[in-house]
Symmetry: C2
Subunit: 206 residues, 2 copies
Amino acid sequence: MTGASRVRRGRGRPSRTETAAAPATRDRILEAAREEFSERGYEKASVRGIAKAAGVDSALVHHYFGTKEQVFEAAIEIVFASALSAPDAVADGPRDAVGERLTRFVFGVWENPATRRPLLAVVRSAVNNETAAAVFRRLVAAQLLRRIAGQLDVPDPELRAELAAAQLVGVAMLRYVIKVEPLASADMEQLVARLAPVVQGHLTNP
Amino acid sequence: MTGASRVRRGRGRPSRTETAAAPATRDRILEAAREEFSERGYEKASVRGIAKAAGVDSALVHHYFGTKEQVFEAAIEIVFASALSAPDAVADGPRDAVGERLTRFVFGVWENPATRRPLLAVVRSAVNNETAAAVFRRLVAAQLLRRIAGQLDVPDPELRAELAAAQLVGVAMLRYVIKVEPLASADMEQLVARLAPVVQGHLTNP
């Protein structure tokens, strides 16, 4: 958000990012895209609007990322980057603490102001638009959850990972999106203490 | 949905509902409202559009229900009617089966074609609009969850009820809205068997 504002203010004069090469332009487009998708939602957002906010031509956005769907996917991928990086902070590590790692990861991205907005954009877009829902399925289900499931030596590992994720998706919906009290104001450590064993149970209980 | 279509087709000639008195008109407006909110979402829906679909004057809609927000609340209240009716099918009954009752109730409204569409309208509206979110909070949190919490003799009963609800909200999101596999196609009884103990645990575990 602040990045996109900076880009808008700075257009026409050299900014910090403009002094760097292609990777900086790419990042600036992604930042503008996150801003555009957060502000307008997937359906109303346009590659043209993203290009304008980033101070580049639409053709350059297409050159780097492809279609609007692919821009969306790239823009929100950062939200999941910490979980998808190797060594994977969620899937790897002691098996009896995978529930707590997944729980802390989800709270981490929601409590972080830099990732909360893109995540809100993902949620708002995914419940209203099939293309955005498909991106969510690819990123969350196919990458994050399947990776966790791959580490579990249990029957129905993918269904288990999805039920565990469902607990955390629901908490995020009620706490950060709908803002139901007392959940919205509850202490995070209190929530982790209640949720980690439930998430763990879904993943590894016989 | 079929009701609203019927009303539209039938305008100008006597229909089944038009032969009845005020309660039928009220129901027809609610049916048109559910259709309008499902189709267009809360923000784009209008009392004028609802009135037109129901074949009545906007003033009559206001007379029966008040503001657009109140029409929305009345239109979606039917979704929760079975849980809010007395004797309350969820809150009442053996305490050690309240988790299964809540789980079955949530699947019941989502699996029922008559309530799935209004519920989708609630979810889509609530994640995108603060007024719709407030209605969701009133109906789900203040009525359904607080009622369940009132029956629990445990610390933090409201937080517990919300964490239990979060599990089911998340499952509904991933199964019915985002349609993540294998959850979207999983057998309902298999899901109840996995979820009921978790929901019960949130509500009554020490």
